[in-house]
Amino acid sequence: MEENILELRDVRTHFPIHKGFLVRRRTGAVRAVDGVTLSVRQGEVLGLVGESGCGKSTLARTILHLVPITGGAVILHGRDLGRASRAELLACRRDLQMIFQDPYASLNPRMTVHAMIAEPLLAHGICSKKDVQGRVDELMTLVGLAPRFARKYPHEFSGGQRQRIAIARALALRPRIIIADEPVSALDVSIQAQILNLLSQLCRGMNLSLVFIAHDLSVVRHISDRIAVMYLGRIVELGPAEDVIDRPRHPYTRALVSAIPVPDPGVERARKRIVLPGDPPSPINPPQGCAFHPRCPYAVDRCRLEVPLLAPAGPSREAACIRLDELP
């Protein structure tokens, strides 16, 4: 657990905005990810939560270098992916795999399950043609699919089964770390639980690290060892999963936690909910100072001026709020 497998140092991903048709000028940038420093230990499940548009999916894509990085460094196993050559990057990607949100869109409808799981094995030259069949069967069994379905196409499977195919494909290269971008959001509650169990079993069994991205806090609390909360491209709170959800420190995390509906009518009636005004601001023109201050119930003048940095907030916890010690 002690070794850091993945390190992010001040990662920034900005998307330029161009105006004009003949003369294209750069007029600004969407600061999707704006200075994220984070580390993932071997065998750890790190939950990444935040509202839509907060940059969590862009961060995932940046880690894999699926979108160009604007600043900072992604360090996998001591190697800076930004400086890696194409060949090195290819090798690194074996250690780093991704599971996408929508199993209806992320699987090629014209490929059989066998072809999809075999593709990475052959592309990376891990298996010879004659060993592929055995390895594919093994992977399908591992994720709870009967190998006799290998010749079927994605449309013949339900959502949960498709997500199992995606997991098998991600595991094919024996990665050290998997990045799962909302892997259960498209699934029904009863199916969600099956996939969550599968993911945590796999992580424990294979000492695999997992970056689990989701907007559903109860799901994240269940599966993660640590949770990072993102708001407008930055991490605002970080700490052990239960601590962050049960005793949130940052005002944004507090609001987020209080917005989760509790499936118990008695509790629901009794508790007070912090309803945040407005929508998350645009990452094109983020507010000055703390990005959360326009919606924060505790904001003071100082919040408009100073950009808060992540600072220690209790045992193995960090939060980015200048008023942390003054909050009720």
């Binding site: 009863s190 109860s218 239960e242 209080s258 917005a259 499936p263 008695g266 009636r269 945040l276």
Partner: protein
């Protein structure tokens, strides 16, 4: 007399691949001012039930095979188109799941907001616009006088859902059908919308049918809940009672699959298998193949929904016989 009484509704879809019995014998009623939660997984028939009441089932392939929906003395399933029009959109309104696709992108929201008023009430355009303005303010859109002239794309997801709600409520309906209105939204925005529905309901005294798959939302909002599975209602009770002592094995399983209710680190409880294919004949109880308590008698005949205690009905023969204890 209840405001709406649906009796033995059956909506089937006749396709090339067979007959999908989406709704298969559903009976329920809604009292004035009451909030009824309709819970179930995707494909359980909850949306089709609402569409049938609203006359939105495309025919063909859909066909309403039997049943009635009495709304204040009018059978919505059999009345003349004129009678139906005088009720739908005026006295019963509906809010859909996806605010991105249910507004017309070519029309300013002012036009869309006043349309129901111009159709159902003899008001001038000026008066209709004045009311639309008031309604937008009531749903919490700042600067309504200016924003009423916006197009849908100029609003965020949460704002669009507010516009949808304003549109539905502008004729001051007696019944609002909300079909997963917050599923596409973030938790913080969901909390805003739920608060809005709650306060408007108090103000207007309307009844609400709230369709969702999220038991947490139901707990905070609904007076009464009915749980659907494979086109039928399997359990129906007061919200408090349903959460405190669910009787049907499916309701219990659904409740136990929610991550937040389970100890962290433990394996999540899952319902084995997947929801049934409603195009195939299901002998007996549709849940039996996934049910831990299924016995031979369960597949012998379709269990009827019957009252187990005052105001609490379920459709499980084993629970009725007292063969499933509260801790089982």
């Amino acid at each position: 007399m209840p405001l709406l009484r649906v009796t033995d509704l059956r909506t089937h879809f006749h396709t090339r691949n067979g007959v999908y019995r989406a709704v298969d014998g559903v009976s329920f009623s809604v009292e004035r001012g009451e909030t009824l939660g309709m819970v179930g997984e995707s494909g359980s028939g909850k949306s089709v039930t609402c569409y049938s009441i609203m006359g939105l089932v495309p025919q063909p392939p859909g066909r309403i095979e039997s049943g009635s929906a009495m709304f204040d003395g009018v059978d919505l399933l059999r009345c003349s188109p004129g009678e139906a029009r005088s009720v739908r959109g005026k006295r019963i309104a509906m809010v859909f799941q996806d605010p991105m696709t249910s507004l017309n992108p070519y029309l300013r929201i002012s036009e869309q907001l006043i349309e129901p008023l111009l159709i159902h009430e003899s008001v001038t355009r000026r008066e209709a616009l004045r009311q639309a303005h008031g309604m937008l303010e009531a749903v919490g859109i700042n600067d309504a006088g200016h924003r009423i002239h916006f197009y849908p794309h100029e609003f965020s997801g949460g704002m669009r859902q507010r516009v949808m709600i304003a549109m539905a409520l502008i004729t001051r309906p007696e019944l609002l059908i909300a079909d997963e209105p917050t599923t596409a939204l973030d938790v913080t925005v969901q909390a805003q919308i739920l608060e809005l529905i709650r306060s408007l309901q108090r103000e207007l005294g309307m009844a609400v049918i709230y369709v969702t798959h999220d038991l947490g939302v139901v707990a905070g909002l609904c007076d009464r809940v009915q749980v659907m599975y494979a086109g039928r209602i399997v359990e129906e009770a007061d919200a408090d009672r349903l959460f405190r002592e669910p009787l049907h094995p499916y309701t219990r399983a659904l409740q136990r699959s929610i991550p937040s209710l389970q100890a962290k680190g433990r394996e999540l409880f899952t319902i084995p298998g997947a929801p049934p294919d409603v195009s195939k004949p299901l002998p007996g109880c549709a849940f039996a193949p996934r049910c831990g308590f299924a016995a031979d008698a369960c597949t012998a005949g379709v269990p009827e929904l019957a009252e187990a205690a005052p105001g609490h009905s379920h459709a499980c023969i084993r629970a009725r016989a007292g063969e499933i204890g509260p801790d089982a």
